[in-house]
Structure formats: structure tokens, C-alpha cells
């Protein structure tokens, strides 16, 4: 079937099997491999993207269901390599990543949090990220990054 949607502000149209999951559509059909797959039980959050501005686990969503909708992935965050999204900058500045595998999902989830709650507390960040597993960092620097990213987003950086 044909699935047409807006991906990172550009219109795309893909022919795919109706059973295709959004994560697979992005990675396999569209070669957008920034969205990662870390589990098969909707537990890890490596696959988080935005659907109409809200974070969703793309491994659990049928690609067909995004027809006509707006999807944003990690590849759509930065304007250029010199103009990162403030949350991306915050993760870089605060050592919020090690192997980088959980990072796309962490970024997408965190931006959604800050969109909803521009001034989250440390506890709120930890609670919100409960659905995103990172095996490398122990979370401390991720939390620090999100708090810094939130501040930068508030300042409109």
C-alpha cells in the first residue's frame, strides 16, 4: 500500500506492506537509520520519534497509521551540523551520551517533555524518561543534559 506523510517537514510517499512498523519503514524503506531498535517489547525507547509533535515508540506503530500525519525523527532536529537543536547541544555539552544508541530516543522523548513542561525538575525528568533505557550513562548526565536543554529551549536558543 501507499503511505504518504510528512517526514521532517518534507512530503514522502512510500510503497510498503501494510504490516510494516513505522521504525522499519523509516530504517529499511527510507534509509533513515537514526531511529534505532533496541527491543521487541516496546520497553527501551530507542525508537522514539514525534508523531504530530508528540513522542511515540515507532517500533509499536503501524506505518500505515501515520498516513497523512507529521513525523519527526532525530535527523530532523538540527538545521545543519552547525545549528543543532538546543537539546542536541545540551547532550553534547553535558556528556549525555556514551555509545549513542539510546540517544535519538532520549532526545525525542526529552524534547517532548520540555514542550509539555518547559521547566521540569530533576525528578520529573527521571520519571518521564522511565520508558527510555540507557545502559551506558547511568542516566545522571542525561538528566543533566535535559535540564540544560530545557533551559536553552526556554531561552529560545
Amino acid at each position: 500500500m501507499k503511505i504518504s506523510f510528512t517526514l521532517n517537514e518534507k512530503a514522502v510517499s512510500v510503497d510498503a506492506d501494510p504490516a510494516t512498523l513505522l521504525a522499519d519503514l523509516l530504517r529499511e524503506n527510507l534509509n533513515m537509520t537514526g531511529t534505532h531498535v533496541g527491543c521487541d517489547t516496546s520497553q527501551c525507547g530507542a525508537c522514539v520519534v514525534h508523531l504530530n509533535g508528540e513522542s511515540v515508540k515507532s517500533c509499536t506503530l503501524l506505518a500505515a497509521s501515520v498516513d497523512g500525519q507529521e513525523v519527526k525523527t532525530v535527523e530532523g532536529l538540527a538545521k545543519s551540523k552547525d545549528e543543532l537543536h538546543p537539546m542536541q547541544t545540551a547532550f553534547r555539552d553535558n556528556h549525555g551520551l556514551q555509545c549513542g544508541f539510546c540517544t535519538p530516543g532520549m532526545l525525542m522523548a526529552s524534547i517532548d517533555l520540555v514542550n509539555k513542561n518547559p521547566e521540569p525538575t530533576e525528578g520529573e525528568v527521571r520519571d518521564w524518561l522511565e520508558g527510555n533505557i540507557c545502559r551506558c550513562t547511568g542516566y545522571q548526565n542525561i538528566v543533566k543534559s535535559v535540564l540544560a536543554g530545557a533551559a536553552a529551549m526556554r531561552d529560545g536558543n
Partner: protein
């Protein structure tokens, strides 16, 4: 002032830009022309004979190109998966090393053992066809528990391994220990389980094999921590591919923690299948497949005793451990609970006599091998639980008993009774500083506050020392390693003065691209941004042993430092030629070559340029070019250590343990990049906390099935389980590495499980609890509290 980013600073990591923009390239992201997809059919039984495999119907499915069984690989004379580090038992006999076929032949020995490999045009086609393969099994009795496996009536897993005993191993002086126990005023005995874990790096394992028949060239892309070792093990021992025809690439890898430092069956299968089909074949593990095919970690049962005098001075220690090997030996399997375990049983204490025996057992479970810390967390857990229990029994404060027995700073180098000699350290200072930072003095008040809320609060202390920087080859080979464990590095200076480093370690989260660039920036004065790192590709990097055992900076960084020395020497030779001066008179400082006492000087870039434009070099004595390679073999292990103090709060109604405070003071030697070191410690601590509170890999003994086979059942630590960690370095310089570094990747995981469990036991002490096995899950704690209450009520 330095105008370069060198040692001791924390620049932004070079690797991060590609990761935050989604441009990392992991194996699963790679596509090759006309690539086929593979899926494994895995055994649903823990132990069974394969009586027949019928692939006829599956083979007729659309898109299916081939289906391979163990029989096909055997017929093609594919070898078994080799062991890289074997051990010798107490009688001097080699450990049992049964054949480990990449795909099972005749028999399956654990749930998840590969039975067939389907290659098709798409993954969906491969998976659909795998379901149509008809395997007839004759199910056999199985055993998953390691103590049970060694009992006389246990099912036999291999015909040629009597009693399922891989090795009965020992270290230490049994007679001296017996004497120490005879003279003891007090003996503390404990029994503990170091539960089985699944390492679960967030990137599942994956491999792509490719064969170009016209060139006779093989390539394997794999999620590996040590691509050169995979090339050696798979090329030489499994597939018989000449090394120069096999390229192994480990690109961006999403975490390792030991899980990716083994040569896995899937790597050999995709490469072999690619050679049969003349193209590329890809396999990516699903997470649930990873649970039943990634090597697991830990899984010990231990009895330990500590002999003390009346004042709590340690006199001797006796340890008996059962260690689970799983169904086959993984690459380093038997080495972990023996050589990487027993030598650390002295901890940071003076213990005159120690004896340890280890029985390694085969069971019908996934093979067990190194997982972050590998043997050393297990040893630390034994030592620190013993010490805590002894303190309780003797009525001595837990910090006081540790201080009474600690190796004082002036006693280093310190020879333990267990082979290793600690070169440097100051455990007393680490513990003292941790006490201050953790506000031990304020604990009583916090405990009273918790009590007022109906909560139990406990404080847990742990010290640790580890042996890492694997490894001095001479010692490693005595201990059974089948290769030296040196490392290699090349510093390639380009005509512009920019540098490419080619190094045999592998970066999968540790920030090597940054740290190694800092070392070279410091040594050569080259701007940090002009230095790039290449690793993980056997066609680009000369050689290497990879990343594990906290060795990258210690061994690889030392090789890099040595290569930088050689570059400086060569640069001085070029400068001497250009200045028409003697080599001895040429100095190199702050990125400049100069002649002492003159104003003659040339920048590093000028000399680099000259090296490649050698119109008048005396070619017999001075070759063009500025590129140097060095191999470094450490003279000893390194011994990072430290002290961790935590506080837990337990809700007696729910059994939930909340980790409330955590303080760590760690001695990792000289620090190159403080930000990265702190990140390594944070991540390590949380993995150890995961073991202490959450993670448990459980087999159902009756069915032999893995019960904790997904993130739904295997509880990983999450952001909301962890408090803000207070971490401070306290460095003593390593006496034998040129940079003074000791390694830091495993420290946190080694120190934290004992600290947390000691805290949990402390919180439950008032209701008579003396030990709690890991993980201290709500269910376990609630049951302990309920049982104690029922007992107290009945009394």
C-alpha cells in the same frame, strides 16, 4: 600556557556530533548491494537429540535462497568455536573444552542453541520459512542449576565431560589457611549467590558477512569489541580463511560491557553462508534472541570463611565457589571465575593466607562469560560481605574493621598471597574521603527521620580493588591465555601536521576518539581538532587486541604514547638534519623543535612538511615520512580501587528498596579526561546497582526455559531508580604505565553491588536479617520481612 587540549581537560567528545544527529553507523544500519537476510531457528529445548531436520517445505517458500544446518557446516569442515583463554585444573590437566559447533549438530544443549540458518531475500521471508522447518527432537533430561549439575545423578551434557565438570581449579596456600583458621579467635562464614545477569548493551548484536568470489575476499561487519581477535579466531580456527583475505569491521557499536568481546557463532555463520552464496548476508538479533544467545554473566554460588583474631584482624580466608559455564565454553568463559576472580580475594586488606577453589560446571544454559567487571565484582562481593558480616559478629564498626585491616599507603607495592602485586593505591584515603562526602556522621539523624516515616534506613560500605589493563602477556600466558595481550598504535602525521591515530582498541561508548586525541595533542602539540582516530577495521588498523578489561587507555594509550615518542624522535632527526645540528642538541617542547641555546626553531607542522618533501635527506640514515607504530605490553596489571558508601531506605509494607544516597571515591590513576572518567564511573555504578536491586536472569529448572527473556521480565535500571551520584576521584599514579593511568571502565560495577547489599542488610539488621541475596527485589525483601515478622510473632 598550553594552546592545545591535552591531558586533564574535558573537551566535547569528537564522536558526539554524529550520534546526536542520528548519523552514527551501527551494523544494523549498513546495507550492501544485493544483500540477503538471515534468520536462525533456535532450539526450544534445553537438552535434546536432533533426530531429523526437514527443510524441504521451508526451502520452497518465496524468496528463500538457502537453509543451512549444523550438518552442512560439519560436512564443509567448519571448525568449532575456539576458546581464547583456557585454564588448568588443580592436577595440571587442561579444562574440558568440548566441541562448540556454530550450529548444533546431533544435539542441542540450551534453549536458544542454533539449529538452522535461513537465508532469504527479506527478513520476513527468512523468518516465515524458519517456522516451516521441521525438527524432530528426542528430548533429554536437562539441568540448569550449577550445583545440581555437579551432583552424581545429574544429566550428562557431554559424553566426554564426566559429571559436567569443566575444571576443578584452585589458587592459594591451603595449608597456611588451615593453620590460620586453627589459630583464629573467630570465624565468619557466609554463603552467597552471585546471580546470573544478561549484559544487554542497548544495541542488539548484528553481523553481515560478504564474499567477493572474484577477489577471494571476505568481509565481516560485526558488533564487536575486538575485530582483530574475531579475524584471528574465526579466520584461523573456524572457517580457515587466510587472515589477509578477511576484513573484519566493527563500526559504531552501541555498548559492549563484555557481551561483544567474544567470537560468536552468528559471525561465522553469516560469513560462511556469504561464501556459499557469493554475496552479502545480514543477521540482526532481536532483543529476545539476544537474551538467549548473548553470553550471560556471573552465576556463582559461594561459601566463604574469614578467620580473625579477637580484635578483628584478618588472619585467613577460605573460599569455595561453583561457577556456571553454560552449555559450552564461550571465548573467555573458564578464565573469568578463576584467574580474574581469585587473585582479587585479598581486596584492599592485609590477609596473610587465602585459599580459593572453583568448580566450573556445564549446564543446559546460555554460555557464561565476561560481563563488565568479570570476576572482580564477584570477588569484591565475597570479600565485602565477609568483612561486613565479621564486623557485625564481632561488634566492631564496619568502617573501623576495614581501616584496621587495610593496606596502608606506604606498604605499596604490596604483594598479596594470591599472585598479584598491587603497584599503587591508598585505600585508607579513599575510604576517609568517602566517609566525609557521604556525611556518615549524619546517618543517625537520617535514619531517625526514616524511622519516623515507618521506613528502614541502612548504610552500606564497600571498598574494592581490581586488576585490569589486561594484560601483561607473560603473566596472562602463564594463566592460560592463548595470545599475548599487548596493544598497538600508529601515529600517522600528515604533511600538513594533522594526525591520524590508528589503534587496535575499539570505541563503543568510552570516548576514545576524544581521550586518545588529547594524549597526542599533549605529546605533539597538535591541535585537538586536527587529530582523528581510526579503530575497528582490520584492513586499516595494523593489529590490536580490542577493548575489554579496562585496557584501552592503559595498554592502548601506552602504545599510543610510545608511538608519539617515536614520532618525536623522528621529528628531532629531521630537525637535526635541517638545522645541520647534532640530534642530542635538538629539543622538542610545546610543539616546537629547537636547538638549545639558539633561536633556531621549527614548528611541528614545518617538520611534518619537511618529512614528506625530503629533497636532501641522507637516505641511509633518515627515511622520508613521519609515521610511527608501537606495540606496548604492560609489565603488570593495573589496580584501580576505591570506596563506595550508600544509603537505602526500605518500605516494610511493599519491600521496595530505594537507593537514596550514593558516594564513590575512586582511584583510577592519572585522569586524561575528567568528564569521560566520571561518565564511566556513573554508568558502571548504575550497572552494579542493577545487579544489586533489579536484574536477575532466571531459568525455570523444570522446563529449562529462560523465564527472564525480555525487558518485561528482566528489570533494567531506569532513570527513576537512581539517585544523584556523588563521585570524586582520588588518584594515585600507576607506577608502571607511562601515563600513570589505571583504567576506569569497570570500577563502578565492581564497587557498587556489595555497597548496596551491605546497605540493605544494615537496614534489616534490627529484624535479625544477616544476608540478602541479589537482587534485593521488592518481592524478595517483602518475603524476608514477612517471614521475620511471622517468626518473631510465633516466638
Amino acid at each position: 600556557m598550553k594552546d592545545f587540549i591535552g591531558v586533564g581537560s574535558s573537551p566535547k567528545r569528537k564522536e558526539d556530533l554524529r550520534f546526536v544527529t542520528g548519523k552514527g553507523q551501527y551494523v544494523a544500519d549498513i546495507k550492501r548491494p544485493n544483500m540477503l537476510m538471515g534468520a536462525f531457528l533456535r532450539s526450544p529445548h534445553a537438552h535434546a537429540e536432533i533426530t531429523s531436520v526437514d527443510i524441504a517445505e521451508a526451502l520452497r517458500m518465496p524468496g528463500v535462497r538457502a537453509i543451512y544446518t549444523g550438518e552442512d557446516m560439519r560436512a564443509d569442515e567448519v571448525g568449532g568455536l575456539p576458546v581464547g583463554w583456557a585454564i588448568t585444573d588443580r592436577n595440571g590437566e587442561p579444562c574440558k573444552e568440548p566441541l562448540h559447533p556454530a550450529i548444533a549438530v546431533d544435539k542441542v544443549r540450551y534453549v536458544g542453541d542454533a539449529v538452522a540458518f535461513v537465508v532469504a531475500e527479506s527478513l520476513e521471508q527468512a523468518e516465515a520459512a524458519a517456522e516451516l522447518i521441521e525438527v524432530d527432537y528426542k528430548v533429554l533430561p536437562h539441568v540448569t542449576g550449577l550445583v545440581e549439575a555437579l551432583q552424581a545423578d545429574a544429566p550428562q551434557i557431554f559424553d566426554d565431560v564426566p559429571g559436567n565438570l569443566c575444571a576443578d581449579w584452585e589458587m592459594g596456600d591451603n595449608t597456611a589457611v588451615d593453620a590460620a583458621f586453627e589459630n583464629a579467635a573467630h570465624v565468619t562464614s557466609i554463603e552467597l549467590v552471585n546471580q546470573r545477569l544478561v549484559g544487554n548493551p542497548m544495541e542488539p548484536r548484528a553481523a553481515i558477512g560478504e564474499y567477493e568470489p572474484e577477489r577471494g575476499q571476505y568481509t565481516l561487519w560485526t558488533t564487536s569489541q575486538f575485530p582483530h581477535v574475531v579475524r584471528l579466531l574465526m579466520g584461523e580456527f573456524v572457517l580457515g580463511i587466510p587472515q589477509h583475505r578477511l576484513r573484519v569491521v566493527a563500526p559504531d557499536v552501541g555498548g559492549g560491557f563484555g557481551v561483544k568481546q567474544f567470537h560468536y557463532a552468528e559471525e561465522a555463520v553469516v560469513t560462511w553462508a556469504a561464501s556459499k552464496l557469493g554475496g552479502a548476508v545480514k543477521w540482526v538479533a532481536q532483543r529476545s534472541e539476544g537474551f538467549i544467545s548473548d553470553a550471560h554473566g556471573r552465576d556463582h554460588v559461594t561459601q566463604a570463611e574469614l578467620a580473625t583474631d579477637a580484635e578483628g584482624a584478618f588472619l585467613g580466608m577460605r573460599v569455595k565457589t561453583y561457577a556456571n559455564m553454560g552449555a559450552y565454553l564461550s571465548t573467555f568463559g573458564p578464565n573469568i571465575p578463576t584467574n580474574l576472580y581469585a587473585p582479587l580475594l585479598s581486596g584492599v586488606y592485609r590477609i596473610p593466607a587465602i585459599y580459593c577453589e572453583v568448580k566450573c560446571a556445564f549446564t543446559n544454559t546460555v554460555p557464561v562469560d565476561a560481563y563488565r567487571g568479570a570476576g572482580r565484582p564477584e570477588a569484591t562481593f565475597v570479600v565485602e560481605r565477609l568483612v561486613d558480616t565479621a564486623a557485625l559478629e564481632l561488634g566492631i564498626d564496619k568502617i573501623e574493621i576495614r581501616k584496621r585491616n587495610m593496606i596502608p599507603a606506604d606498604a605499596y607495592p604490596y604483594q598479596t598471597p594470591m599472585v598479584v602485586e598491587y603497584d599503587s593505591g591508598d585505600p585508607m584515603a579513599c575510604l576517609g574521603r568517602a566517609e566525609e562526602l557521604a556525611d556518615v556522621a549524619g546517618f543517625a539523624a537520617r535514619k531517625a527521620e526514616s524511622e519516623a516515616k515507618g521506613l528502614y534506613r541502612g548504610m552500606g560500605v564497600s571498598t574494592y580493588v581490581e586488576a585490569c589493563g589486561l594484560a601483561p602477556s607473560r603473566l596472562a600466558i602463564q594463566m592460560g591465555a592463548r595470545s599475548g595481550l599487548y596493544e598497538s598504535a600508529t601515529v600517522r602525521v600528515h604533511p600538513s601536521g594533522a594526525v591520524t591515530i590508528l589503534i587496535g582498541t575499539h570505541n563503543h561508548g568510552q570516548g576514545h576518539e576524544t581521550t586518545f586525541a588529547q594524549i597526542v595533542s599533549e605529546r605533539l602539540g597538535v591541535p585537538f581538532e586536527n587529530i582523528d582516530i581510526v579503530c575497528g577495521d582490520t584492513d586499516k588498523v595494523q593489529h590490536g587486541l580490542g577493548t575489554y578489561g579496562s585496557r584501552s587507555l592503559v595498554v592502548g594509550g601506552s602504545a599510543l604514547n610510545k608511538a608519539a615518542d617515536k614520532v618525536i624522535l623522528k621529528g628531532r632527526k629531521i630537525a637535526a638534519h635541517q638545522f645541520e645540528a647534532d640530534l642530542e642538541d635538538v629539543l622538542f617542547e610545546n610543539g616546537e623543535f629547537s636547538i638549545a641555546g639558539t633561536d633556531k626553531k621549527k614548528s611541528f607542522n614545518e617538520i611534518a612538511g619537511a618529512a614528506y618533501l625530503p629533497y636532501d635527506f641522507p637516505l641511509e640514515t633518515l627515511e622520508p615520512g613521519l609515521e610511527e607504530q608501537a606495540y606496548y605490553d604492560p609489565v603488570n596489571f593495573t589496580y584501580p580501587g576505591g570506596a563506595h558508601i550508600c544509603e537505602v531506605e526500605i518500605n516494610p509494607d511493599t519491600g521496595i528498596v530505594t537507593l537514596d544516597r550514593y558516594t564513590a571515591v575512586d582511584d583510577v590513576g592519572t585522569i586524561i579526561n575528567p568528564m569521560i572518567v566520571e561518565g564511566q564511573l556513573q554508568g558502571g555504578i548504575v550497572q552494579g546497582v542493577g545487579q544489586a536491586l533489579f536484574e536477575h536472569c532466571v531459568y525455570d529448572d523444570a522446563s529449562g526455559q529462560l523465564l527472564s527473556g525480555s525487558f518485561m521480565d528482566y528489570c533494567m535500571p531506569r532513570a527513576d531508580n537512581i539517585p544523584h551520584l556523588v563521585i570524586e576521584p582520588l588518584s594515585t599514579s600507576c607506577a608502571h604505565t607511562p601515563l600513570g593511568v589505571k583504567g576506569c571502565g569497570e570500577c563502578g560495577t565492581i564497587g557498587s553491588p556489595a555497597a548496596v547489599i551491605n546497605g540493605v542488610v544494615d537496614a534489616l539488621r534490627h529484624i535479625g536479617v544477616r544476608h540478602v541475596d541479589m537482587p534485593a527485589s521488592p518481592n524478595r525483601i517483602w518475603n524476608i520481612i514477612r517471614k521475620t515478622r511471622t517468626r518473631v510473632a510465633a516466638e
